[in-house]
């Protein structure tokens, strides 16, 4: 079991580092997905370990929410790209003090 959890942690860390370091919105988005899936892996692993379905149900919820989020997120990224000809998250910094 530990291997799965370690793998999940590694994937999550890769995703988190990606979110923090990459500027391209699409890559950041993919890293977010990576983090979500790392969580899913952990949930499923724990479900197997405990012998019940709670974790698996949670994983399904995460997938559903992620799908919806992808739809909205990609639409926003596309709109921003159309108006600014850029997909860099650092360029979209107007909403501030």
């Amino acid at each position: 079991m530990t291997e799965y959890i370690v793998l999940s942690a590694i994937l999550f860390t890769i995703g988190a580092v990606g979110v923090l370091t990459r500027r391209n919105a699409l890559v950041v988005f993919m890293c977010v997905e990576l983090m979500l899936n790392a969580c899913n892996l952990a949930l499923v692993t724990f479900a197997k370990q405990h012998g019940n379905l709670d974790g698996q149900i949670a994983a399904f919820f995460v997938m559903v929410v992620a799908a919806a989020e992808v739809v909205v997120g990609l639409a926003i990224i596309m709109t921003i790209f159309r108006t600014r000809r850029s997909a860099s998250v650092d360029d979209a910094s107007l909403l501030k003090y």
């Binding site: 988190a16 979110v19 923090l20 370091t21 500027r23 950041v28 998250v89 650092d90 979209a92 910094s93 107007l94 909403l95 501030k96 003090y97």
Partner: protein, 645 residues
């Protein structure tokens, strides 16, 4: 002390019946006049210009007629039965507290009713002539009627609360009338000054009323006179001193005397009615009416005597230096009220003489004030005696009547003032030689300043302004002068056979006769001698010299002090006005710096922190992500720490 209380007569009135059921009408008539003249002034001003003054004069005369009828009725009763009370309506009923609007009619009140309505009516008649050319004459009469109604309530109420309403009413009327010519800044300021200084006295009276509520559960004279003997000594002393404070304010006694001289800014009939004959004597009434309290407290009585003695000299000294004829008379009024207060402070032996002097003073001082008004009328409203001189030929009636008032006030027998002042001096000498000698000295100074006033006005050389043509006043003004002069001359007969002493006995009690240290005739002769010295001094200092038209400036310190009202205003400024201004500005500074600083300072700190913190919202998504990650790590570490610990 308690053994004395048996001698203090109780207030035990019987119900009003027969003619006495008209008691309420005495107040109602002038009150109706005030309502019609003051409210009607806005509704039908033209009609009031024609008959407003007639209405305003007839109503007090009506009150006078009723007072006269009531007086005769009261004379017809048995001596023990001369207290009548009329219940008008329930005024305040809360819990145990039950204050009725009750009118008390007894020998003391009866004399006051005659004085107020009698002298008041004469002054109303006089005012018709005096105020003839004034645009606002109906309003003037409205105020005068309001004053008469309030003063009548003051002396007729059966409890302190009703008295207080009248007390405040006369204060209001006095304020309105001093400031009647409000376009003059000095008049408006004088009105305000009178009002404010009176507030200090009123505070004393209202506190006394509260004390009465607490101590006796009532403010009725009947209840208090019955239970005063059982109350504690220090409560009675406090009660007496608080009443004295009220009396000092209303009667212009030291230390609340400063307003009276400025009050002369009002029209002269007002000075005669309110600031000489009636209102300013309310303090004397208050003390005589409260005799059942003052008889139980030696301390308060002593303080009354001290205040009175200081005031009678204070006022007399001021009167010596004033060139304004009305202010000289005002100083004299202050001094004469000092005599009355002295009589009232001497206890049972003096009450009747205080009231006697109050009545005679009401006659001769009203007479002289109206005479001064008549002189001013003939001199184009000039009040400076240095511009008068030799007016006796021009104003013969005014001169003659004024002279009778003069003889009365300095105490020449057989004029009224002689009888009343002599009795007070005699009683004072019996009680306390020092006070008696001060009173004697005051009589001498009275002789001086009144002779000075007479000489400067009616004798010496003509010093008139150019274009002034002195002339006698119209009949409407001289007839009241003649009536008052007759009363000033004959008022002394009230004392014939000790009538007034016997008449007031049911109210103030019977005085044990004490032999004075010297035979009465000797005291009388000494008094006349002292007065003669004062008169002679005035003849030498004023009559034998040229009176300069401008007041000389290189005068002694005493004269300068007297001209400045013995620095009464400076003392008030230094002791009260200055410190309270400093206190106020200190409080304002404290409020602005400390209190406001606390609140606005807190707000400034929060705003500053906000300005710093908003930098966190920099718009870079990745920096937000770092904050979230940091937060998550913190939570995880905290959970681990808790679980592993």
């Amino acid at each position: 002390m308690l053994s004395l209380s048996e001698e203090i007569p109780l207030v035990e009135p019987t119900g009003a019946d027969g003619a006495f059921s008209l008691l309420w009408l005495v107040i109602a008539l002038p009150l109706a006049g005030a309502a019609i003249l003051l409210i009607g002034g806005a509704l039908f001003p033209q009609a009031l210009k024609v008959w407003g003054h007639v209405l305003g004069t007839l109503l007090p005369i009506g009150s006078f007629v009723i007072s006269l009828v009531l007086f005769v009725q009261l004379m017809g009763r048995e001596e023990g039965d001369r207290q009548v009370v009329q219940h008008l309506y329930d005024f305040i009923q809360v819990g145990d507290l039950d204050v009725g609007m009750d009118l008390l009619y007894d020998p003391l009140t009866s004399l006051f009713l005659l004085l107020i309505t009698g002298v008041g009516s004469l002054i109303h008649v006089y005012s018709i002539g005096y105020m003839e050319h004034d645009e606002r004459r109906p309003r003037f009469f409205g105020y005068l009627n309001l004053f008469v109604a309030a003063m009548l309530l003051l002396v007729m109420s059966e409890n302190y609360l009703g008295l207080f309403i009248g007390w405040e009413g006369v204060g209001l009327a006095s304020y309105l009338l001093i400031g009647f010519w409000q376009h003059k800044h000095s008049a408006a300021a004088a009105a305000k000054k009178a009002f404010v200084i009176n507030r200090v006295g009123d505070m004393g009276l209202s506190t006394a009323i509260m004390l009465a509520f607490v101590t006796f559960g009532s403010t009725s004279f009947t209840v208090i006179s019955a239970s005063a003997g059982a109350a504690e000594q220090h409560v009675m002393t406090a009660f007496g001193l608080l009443l004295l404070l009220g009396a000092c304010g209303k009667s212009a006694q030291v230390p609340l005397q400063a307003w009276l001289l400025d009050a002369m800014e009002g029209p002269t009939p007002v000075s005669a009615l309110i600031h000489a004959a009636t209102m300013v004597t309310a303090g004397v009434y208050l003390i005589v009416r409260s005799n059942f309290i003052f008889e139980l407290t030696d301390t308060a009585q002593t303080v009354v005597v001290i205040v009175a003695t200081v005031t009678l000299l204070w006022g007399a000294i001021i009167g010596c230096a004033k060139d304004d004829i009305k202010k000289a008379l005002a100083g004299s009024t202050m001094s004469q009220i000092g005599y009355m207060m002295l009589g009232a402070g001497l206890g049972t032996a003096g009450y009747a003489f205080a009231i006697f002097h109050l009545l005679t003073h009401g006659f001769f001082k009203a007479n002289m004030f109206l005479g001064a008004g008549s002189v001013m009328h003939g001199m184009n409203d000039d009040v400076d005696m240095r511009h008068y001189g030799a007016l006796r030929k021009m104003l013969p009636v005014t001169f003659f009547t004024f002279a009778i008032g003069y003889l009365a006030i300095i105490g020449v027998p057989p004029f009224s003032g002689f009888w009343s002042k002599d009795k007070i001096i005699e009683t004072a000498l019996v009680e306390n030689p020092v006070v008696g000698i001060c009173a004697l000295l005051g009589a001498g100074i009275t002789g001086f300043y009144m002779t000075r006033l007479m000489l400067m006005t009616f004798f010496t050389k003509e010093r008139w302004e150019k274009g002034v043509h002195p002339h006698e006043s119209p009949k409407l003004m001289t007839i009241p002068l003649m009536v008052l002069a007759a009363l000033s001359a004959l008022g002394g007969f009230l004392l014939a056979g000790d009538w007034i002493v016997g008449w007031l006995e049911p109210v103030v009690g019977h005085a044990e006769h004490h032999e004075p240290p010297l035979p009465v005739i000797v005291i009388t002769l000494i008094t006349i001698g002292v007065v003669a010295i004062g008169v002679a001094a005035a003849f030498v200092l004023v009559g034998q010299r040229e009176v300069p038209r401008e007041a000389p400036q290189d005068v002694s310190f005493a004269t300068r002090a007297a001209r400045a009202d013995l620095y009464g205003d400076a003392i008030n400024d230094g002791l009260v006005v200055g410190p309270s201004r400093q206190l106020t500005s200190g409080l304002v500074t404290f409020d602005r710096s400390v209190v406001d600083g606390l609140f606005s300072g807190g707000a400034t700190v929060v705003a500053g922190v906000g300005i710093l913190l908003r930098r966190v919202q920099n718009g870079f998504v990745r920096s937000y992500a770092v904050s979230i990650l940091a937060g998550v790590l913190l939570v995880v570490l905290a959970l681990l720490a808790v679980n592993l610990a």
